[in-house]
C-alpha cells in the first residue's frame, strides 16, 4: 500500500488566541510551529495500514521553505519519506490552489493507493482541501472517516462520522479520505524516529519541478480572497449563581431558567 499523507505546519493551538491578525496577513506568525493536530491522526492511520499490510508512507507538505516541522514530525512517528512544496509564487494560495499543488506533487511521486488527510487545518479550518484534492485528481473523496472497516487492493470501506449517526461507504482505490480524531490515538515519535527525522533529506519542489503555472496558484490564482481578517469581539460574560435552600431547589430554578432562555 503506497500511502500519501498531506500534512500542514500550523501555529501551536495553545498560542492561536494570542496571534494578531496583522501577523496572519504578513505571514510572519510568531508562534511555535507544530504538525496540524488533525494530520497526526492521518499519519497514525497511514502507519497502522503500513504495519498491517506493508507498503510506504510519504508525507507531503506545502509551506514556506523552512517549515519542515510538520513533515519531520511525520517521519519521527514512522513515515518513510517526505517532500516539501515551496515556491514564492505559491504564497497566499487559496484552498483550491493548495489542492492543485498537492495533486501535482502526488502525481510526481508516482503510483499511490490512498491519500489520507486530516479533517482540516486548525489555522484556516476551511475543510475544503481534501475535497478539492480528490476532485483535482479525479478520485473519490470520503470525508469525516472515523474508522476503516476494510481495505483491500482495489477498494476501501469506511465509517463516516456524521452528526446524526454513522454512514458506511465503499469506494474503489485510489481514493482520498479525510479523518476525524475518533479514528485512532496517534503514537508518540520514537527516539530512533527523531534521529531519522533530523537527518532526513527532504526535497523541496517548486513551480518548475511540479510543472505548475504561477497563474494557477498563489495569490494570482486564488479564487477566494480574505478581505477582512479580524478577531471576534471579546465576549462579555455575565455569571449568575443560582441560589437555593437545597440542591433539588437549585436544580429546579436552574432548569426553569434554561427553559426560559430556550437553551433546552
Amino acid at each position: 500500500m503506497n500511502i500519501l499523507v498531506p500534512v500542514k505546519q500550523v501555529p501551536d493551538t495553545a498560542e492561536l488566541p494570542k496571534i494578531d491578525p496583522s501577523e496572519v496577513v504578513s505571514g510572519n506568525i510568531k508562534a511555535t510551529q507544530i504538525l496540524n493536530p488533525w494530520d497526526e491522526y492521518a499519519v497514525e492511520e497511514a502507519l497502522r495500514i503500513k504495519e498491517s499490510k506493508g507498503g510506504k508512507v510519504t508525507a507531503i507538505s506545502f509551506g514556506p521553505a523552512g517549515a519542515t516541522e510538520g513533515v519531520k514530525r511525520a517521519i519521527a512517528m514512522g513515515a518513510d519519506a517526505a517532500v516539501m512544496i515551496s515556491d514564492d509564487a505559491f504564497a497566499n494560495s487559496d484552498a483550491l490552489g493548495t489542492a492543485k499543488l498537492i495533486a501535482a506533487a502526488a502525481k510526481k511521486l508516482g503510483e499511490f493507493d490512498l491519500i489520507i488527510t486530516g479533517k482540516a487545518a486548525v489555522d484556516g479550518d476551511s475543510q475544503v482541501v481534501p475535497v478539492a484534492l480528490g476532485r483535482t485528481l479525479g478520485l473519490p473523496v470520503v470525508t469525516y472517516v472515523a474508522k476503516i472497516r476494510e481495505l483491500s487492493e482495489g477498494s476501501i470501506t469506511v465509517e463516516r462520522l456524521l452528526e446524526d449517526g454513522r454512514e458506511i461507504v465503499t469506494v474503489p482505490l485510489p481514493a482520498v479520505i479525510s479523518v476525524v480524531k475518533e479514528i485512532n490515538e496517534p503514537r508518540y515519535p520514537t527516539f530512533m524516529g527523531i534521529r531519522k527525522a533530523t537527518r532526513a533529506k527532504i526535497p523541496v519542489w517548486g513551480a518548475a519541478d511540479l510543472g505548475i503555472e504561477a497563474s494557477e496558484v498563489g495569490e494570482a490564482g486564488a479564487a477566494v480572497k480574505w478581505t477582512n481578517l479580524r478577531k471576534p469581539p471579546a465576549r462579555e460574560v455575565k455569571c449568575e449563581i443560582i441560589e437555593g435552600e437545597t440542591v433539588e431547589e437549585k436544580v429546579k430554578i436552574l432548569v426553569d431558567r434554561l427553559i426560559a432562555e430556550k437553551v433546552i
Partner: protein, 402 residues
C-alpha cells in the same frame, strides 16, 4: 559557542513534554493525594525508550546522548518530581553505573533488561545512621568462597518496593572508611532481601520511598561491581549522574512554578487590577525567570561535558546546588503569589513546594555541595582520574546494534 538546542534535542523535548502533559499531569495529583506510586506510567515510559534514554542501543537503550537525559528530566519534573525520581535512580544511579563500571557479562545480564524497562533498578547507599557520612555506613559484606554474605539496612531508597535490581554498597573491610566499601548488584529474589515502604514524607508522595533489609543475603562474586574497596568511587560517580538529573529536573520545577504564577498573576484581580501589575509580585516572578535560565544553562553545560567525556563532578554539584535551592524558592514564592489558594491542594503550587524541599536534602544536601564548591575554589579538592570514566557520547557506538 552555540547556545541553541539542536533540532534533535528540540524534538526530544517536544515529545517528552507531550508525554508529561498528556500522561502524567492529568493523573499525578490523585496519586500524590493517595501517596501511591503511578505504576501505570512505567510500561509507557519503557515503550517510549525513556527508561534507557542515554544507554547505547546495543545494551537495549534508545541511544540518545546525555543532554537528552537532562531534557527528559526537566520535562518529567515539570509534571511532578516523583516521576523524575524514577529516572534519577533507575537510569542515572544504577544503569549508568553499570555502563561505566560493569563487565560485559553484567551489562548483558542487568543493563539490557533495565534499559528496555523490563526490569526496574534502584540504588542502596543511604542508611538510617549514615546519609551525608557515606563512609560511616554499617552494612557489611564478607567473602565466603564464591559469594559475599551481605547484611545491613538501607533507608530512604527510591523505588525500594518496586525495583527488581538493587545497586548496594557495603563494607568488605570495616577497618577502613572510604576504601573499605564495595558495590554489589543484588536481585530482589536473592535470599534474605526484604523491603518496606516509608510513609509520612512531606513531599514526593507519588514516589515510592522505602527501606531494604539484607539478612545474610548471598551475593555471587560475579555480581560485585568493580573491585573490592572501589565502592566509594563507584557511588560518587553514580551520584554525578543522578545529581545531573536532579539539577535538570529542578529547572522543570522552576518552570512549572513560573508558569503557574504567571497564569495566576494575569488572572487574579485585587484593588482594581491584575496582581501581575504589583511590583512585589513582579519581583518574585523576575527571580523565577532569571533562575530558570541559570538552572538550564548550568545543566546544559554538564550534559555537554558528559557528552565530551570531560570530568564534571564540580559542575554537576554546582548545577544541583543552584537549581534545587532556586526551585524551592520558586515554589515557595508561587504559593505566596497564589495567596490562600496556594495554601490549598486545589492548586498545584503547594505540591511543588513540598516536592522541591526534598531535592535540597537528597543527592547531597545543599550543605554538602556548598562544602564541595568551597573545597574546589580553595584548592583543597582536586578530582583524580577514575579507573573507569563515564564513556563520552559517540553517536556511532551508541546507535549501532552491536
Amino acid at each position: 559557542m552555540d547556545f541553541r538546542l539542536s533540532e534533535e534535542h528540540e524534538m526530544v523535548r517536544q515529545m517528552v513534554h507531550e508525554f508529561s502533559a498528556k500522561e502524567i499531569r492529568p493523573i499525578i495529583k490523585d496519586y500524590d493525594r493517595r501517596h501511591e506510586y503511578p505504576m501505570e506510567l512505567l510500561p509507557k515510559m519503557a515503550e517510549l525508550g525513556i527508561l534507557g534514554i542515554c544507554i547505547p542501543v546495543r545494551y537495549g537503550g534508545a541511544g540518545m546522548d546525555y543532554i537528552s537525559l537532562g531534557i527528559v528530566s526537566e520535562e518529567l519534573e515539570w509534571a511532578d518530581a516523583s516521576v523524575r525520581e524514577t529516572i534519577a535512580v533507575h537510569v542515572a544511579l544504577n544503569s549508568l553505573a553499570l555502563l561505566q563500571w560493569g563487565t560485559e557479562e553484567q551489562k548483558q545480564k542487568y543493563l539490557v533488561p533495565q534499559a528496555k524497562g523490563e526490569k526496574i533498578a534502584c540504588y542502596g547507599l543511604t542508611e538510617p545512621g549514615a546519609g551525608s557520612d557515606v563512609a560511616g555506613m554499617s552494612s557489611r559484606a564478607r567473602r565466603e568462597g564464591d559469594v559475599y554474605i551481605l547484611n545491613g539496612e538501607k533507608m530512604w531508597i527510591t523505588l525500594a518496593d518496586v525495583a527488581d535490581h538493587f545497586l548496594v554498597f557495603a563494607k568488605t573491610d570495616p577497618e577502613k572508611r572510604h576504601r573499605g566499601i564495595t558495590a554489589f548488584i543484588v536481585e530482589r529474589s536473592f535470599p534474605g532481601v526484604t523491603t518496606g515502604t516509608i510513609h509520612g514524607k512531606l513531599g514526593v508522595h507519588a514516589s515510592n520511598t522505602g527501606w531494604i533489609s539484607f539478612d545474610d543475603t548471598p551475593v555471587p562474586v560475579e555480581n560485585r561491581l568493580g573491585e573490592e574497596g572501589e565502592g566509594f568511587k563507584i557511588a560518587m560517580s553514580a551520584l554525578d549522574n543522578a545529581r545531573y538529573t536532579v539539577a535538570a529536573g529542578a529547572a522543570g520545577s522552576i518552570r512549572a512554578a513560573l508558569e503557574a504564577s504567571v497564569a495566576y498573576a494575569n488572572t487574579r484581580t485585587a484593588f482594581g487590577q491584575k496582581i501581575g501589575q504589583f511590583q512585589l509580585v513582579q519581583q518574585m516572578i523576575a527571580k523565577m525567570a532569571v533562575n530558570l535560565d541559570i538552572a538550564r544553562l548550568l545543566y546544559y553545560r554538564v550534559g555537554w561535558m558528559k557528552n565530551m567525556g570531560i570530568r564534571n563532578t564540580r559542575e554537576t554539584s554546582m548545577a544541583k546546588l543552584f537549581a534545587t535551592e532556586a526551585a524551592f524558592q520558586a515554589a515557595v514564592d508561587a504559593v505566596q503569589i497564589h495567596g490562600a489558594y496556594g495554601y490549598s491542594d486545589e492548586y498545584d503550587v503547594e505540591r511543588f513546594m513540598r516536592n522541591t524541599k526534598g531535592a535540597v536534602i537528597y543527592e547531597g544536601t545543599t550543605q554538602i555541595h556548598e562544602v564541595l564548591q568551597a573545597q574546589y575554589a580553595l584548592g583543597y579538592r582536586r578530582d583524580k582520574p577514575l579507573r573507569r570514566e563515564l564513556p563520552a557520547y559517540d553517536p556511532d557506538y551508541w546507535q549501532s546494534e552491536e
